[in-house]
């Protein structure tokens, strides 16, 4: 986001005045907004309005400059938890190694699963963490911790990674959704429960995701033929005026929330083609692969190119292979291998890799030992993930596990270290304070957990 210091000062002073006005209001808890939090949210809105999609992006050169300079993120959310043995930390030929071999990568001495030949060929662009060591061993808790960066600290809910990034780096007034979740599966057990929860936490619902994909294709985005463009704009202007008036007169957060929803729908109507897979080039669709996960990864790239800040690509919970671990991973990993390869290659080719962080991870790993169904069970003790671009140094493998992959032997990383690394790479202060009414101070990453320095550019 481009914004001058002078502009910041004037916006801040304006917000200070607004804040004083707020404090002299009715004094109900609904209006007790802490100054720091208020400032943060309002700054984002104010900045966003300066760079609204319809304004700035109508000037192609400037639009290109903004799109390229802002950091963005694509999260390949491997829900259910993939096996580190069949991806980034193979132990081929050992009792825990499974049936797949290990292949050399571009980095001398570093091997990955034989199911990942494409990623092996671009290893100098990837960063792999082989020493994840986290606590939750059940899906819901694991998903919660690895998407929010910490375990729960009630009563407030920590915002999910996408909400934080959308709020910090996004353009709130953009018609293009800043946080998009692409997931075709309406169900998903624990993931479904999680999806029904509060994503944006204390940041507020406007930072939650727009959900699309498969059964969640966004319906009714087409303007009715009976309504002209001008009619539509007039109607929207009238609706906006009346609802703003009500919102201000009544000091109602509900009205504000409805307003935000209308804004979103209105924005979505204008960018509906971004969500239409059939409009993407057939050659690209073939190159990524025809499965839902691959198609949505391509769509994620498309959304990022066109103004989204954070896109999370999930596919239900396919990685939870308690039954037939290898039989399922022989399908899932090659798809991941290709998708990660295509994304990184495309972003680099478009000059966007340095500003776009791609993360591929799940909520934990899988057990070194097989259960009686030839599956691997949940294992948070020692697992792996990978990242590329967006402020992350390529060609680095951080940490290691022992010979059988049972324990982390070097470079332990937990979810706090990971999130400190992600935020640092994206230029977001990992230790930002949040003061919430009647509660101890929260931090974006608690405990001053250190980022993994060798992974940062």
């Amino acid at each position: 986001m481009v914004i001058t210091n002078q502009c910041r000062v004037s916006i801040e002073s304006l917000i200070n005045k607004m804040f004083e006005m707020k404090r002299s209001g009715c004094g109900s808890p609904e209006h007790e907004i802490h100054r720091r939090l208020f400032l943060q949210g309002s700054m984002a809105s104010a900045s966003a309005s300066v760079a609204s999609f319809s304004g700035l992006f109508s000037i192609p050169a400037f639009a290109e400059s903004v799109q390229k300079s802002a950091k963005k993120c694509i999260l390949l959310w491997l829900c259910g938890a993939p096996s580190q043995f069949e991806t980034w930390d193979p132990k081929a030929g050992t009792e825990t190694g499974g049936p797949f071999g290990a292949i050399p990568t571009q980095i001398p001495g570093v091997h990955v699963s034989s199911l990942m030949p494409k990623c092996a060929s671009i290893m100098e662009k990837l960063a792999v963490i082989r020493s994840m060591n986290t606590e939750p061993s059940e899906h819901f808790q694991g998903i919660d911790a690895l998407t929010r960066g910490d375990t729960p600290r009630p009563p407030f809910t920590r915002p999910i990674l996408g909400s934080v990034i959308a709020q910090q780096l996004g353009q709130l007034d953009s018609p293009v959704p800043q946080f998009v979740l692409l997931d075709p599966c309406p169900e998903g057990n624990e993931f479904k429960s999680f999806k029904a929860g509060n994503w944006a936490g204390w940041l507020g619902a406007e930072y939650g995701p727009i959900r699309a994909g498969g059964d969640y294709s966004i319906p009714n985005l087409e303007r009715l033929d009976s309504i002209s463009d001008i009619d539509h704009q007039d109607r929207e202007a009238l609706r906006k005026f009346l609802s703003r008036k009500y919102e201000n007169d009544q000091r109602s957060e509900s009205a504000a929330s409805f307003n935000a929803a209308f804004q979103r729908v209105n924005g979505l109507m204008s960018c509906a083609p971004l969500f239409d897979l059939s409009q993407l080039p057939e050659a690209d669709r073939d190159r990524y692969g025809r499965g839902a996960f691959a198609q949505h990864a391509l769509q994620a790239r498309h959304l990022i190119e066109n103004g989204s800040t954070f896109v999370m690509v999930a596919n239900g919970m396919p990685w939870d292979n308690h039954v037939f671990q290898h039989e399922m991973h022989q399908m899932l990993v090659p798809e991941l291998d290709n998708v990660f390869y295509q994304l990184v290659s495309d972003l680099e080719e478009r000059g966007m890799l340095d500003d776009t962080l791609v993360i591929a991870m799940g909520e934990f790993g899988r057990t070194p030992w097989l259960n009686d169904a030839r599956g691997r069970d949940h294992y948070p003790n020692a697992w792996s993930l990978a990242m590329a671009g967006g402020g992350i140094r390529g060609g680095v493998v951080h940490g290691s596990t022992d010979a059988l992959g049972i324990e982390v032997s070097e470079g332990r990383v937990d979810q706090r270290n990971l999130f400190a690394t992600i935020f640092s790479a994206l230029g977001i202060d990992p230790y930002q304070e949040y003061e919430l009414p009647g509660l101890p101070t929260f931090h974006r990453v608690e405990g001053k957990a250190a980022p993994i320095k060798e992974l940062l550019v």
Binding site: E95, P99, F100, F191, G291, G316, V323
Partner: protein, 364 residues
């Protein structure tokens, strides 16, 4: 149920043997004194009497299938896509053939030991809802056992997980993950029957669109005119493997195969069934697999009526069942969970072989 000579089918375990890693397939030697096992870490020979077990050789990945082709020669297939001929007497490899780029999921040898069939196929997404992509290599390959020469490359839709040859050696049948069965004439390589049964297949509607299911075992009935299939019925949660323990019997007498019978209501629990064996002398068959819910993971069924005759609960997942050549005994193979390693880092053996007398009950 009474059978010939009025004997009572009452299986009784007479031997328990262990193999160091999970057993995916096992076969009884022609002299009935040894068992050869295709295990995760290699091919093992076990003396039934003493339980002594030696590793003969390894594939580059899991060994997935094994068969005896003569008194002292066996042939194995593996997840390295290789088929290996091995002379047990001389402890030497006779032939090593790269049959597939992907795994050999299953291997079958004709009753006269003249031909073998091996099936392969990597399941890759071909469509938005994970319809399988077309094959990139022949899914079914037929070899001459004595020379190792390739006789036929036969098409199917990957992944093809189960194969069998008819008792008369004239047909080969193979089933895949999608519940599609193809039957070929073994001499000409001509496709004679092709059908799909949707009862074994389940979209992962809960947790994903990915597939887990299909046909995991296939056998001809003794007359060669009908085929038995085994797997798991529709599942609510594919990751739990909690579908119905399912077999089906299909007639091949007409051009369009007809479903004759299947697991009877009230006679199944939950769990993937991946082993089938047909008694060479009497009209019954055994289906085995994993116990996920219910009270059995192997059961004997009447080949004609389809009625369940007897059940077993082995305490481990069954991957293979074999009748002795003259019947009356069966070998059940499989694996328990691997378990955590001991303090020294070694794992306990988790491959299992058990032998049962099938008519151990009293005469009636």
């Amino acid at each position: 149920m009474n059978y010939m000579n009025q004997e009572k089918l009452e299986p009784k375990r007479i031997k328990e043997l262990k193999v160091s890693s999970g057993v995916l397939s096992a076969a009884i030697s022609p002299d009935e004194k040894r068992v050869v096992s295709a295990a995760m870490d290699g091919v093992y020979l076990t003396e039934i009497e003493t339980g002594e077990s030696v590793k003969l050789y390894s594939h580059e990945s899991y060994a997935s299938s094994v068969e005896w082709v003569s008194e002292n020669v066996l042939v194995s297939a593996g997840y390295d896509g290789r088929i290996i001929w091995f002379d047990v007497a001389n402890q030497s490899e006779i032939r090593n053939e790269k049959a597939h780029q992907f795994w050999s999921w299953d291997l079958a040898v004709s009753a006269d030991r003249a031909r073998l069939a091996s099936v392969t196929g990597q399941y890759l997404a071909g469509g938005y809802k994970y319809e399988p992509a077309s094959e990139t290599e022949p899914s079914l390959r037929i070899y001459d056992v004595s020379t190792g020469s390739l006789l036929h490359d036969l098409p199917h839709v990957p992944s093809v997980q189960a194969v069998t040859i008819s008792p008369d050696g004239k047909r080969v049948a193979a089933g895949n993950l999608m519940g599609e069965v193809r039957v070929y004439d073994l001499d000409s390589g001509a496709l004679t029957h092709q059908w799909t049964t949707n009862d074994f297949t389940s979209w992962g509607i809960i947790k994903s669109h990915s597939y887990l299911g299909g046909i995991f075992a296939i056998r001809f009935a003794p007359d060669g005119e009908s085929v038995l299939l085994a797997g798991m019925g529709p599942m609510r949660d594919p990751m739990a493997g909690n579908g119905k323990q399912l077999w089906q019997k299909w007639s091949l007498e007409s051009e369009k195969p007809i479903l004759l019978d299947q697991t009877h209501d009230g006679e199944s629990g939950e769990g993937l069934m991946e082993a089938l064996a047909v008694d060479p002398a009497l009209p019954f068959f055994v289906m085995g697999g994993r116990l996920r819910g219910g009270d059995w993971n192997a059961a004997f069924f009447d080949l004609n009526s389809g009625n369940r005759l007897h059940t077993l609960k082995t305490g481990f997942r069954i991957t293979d069942v074999r009748f002795y050549e003259q019947g009356r005994r069966i070998l059940i193979a499989g694996a328990t969970g691997q378990g955590k390693p001991k303090d020294e880092g070694a794992f306990d053996p988790f491959g299992r072989l058990e032998i049962y007398e099938t008519f151990a009950g009293s005469n009636v």
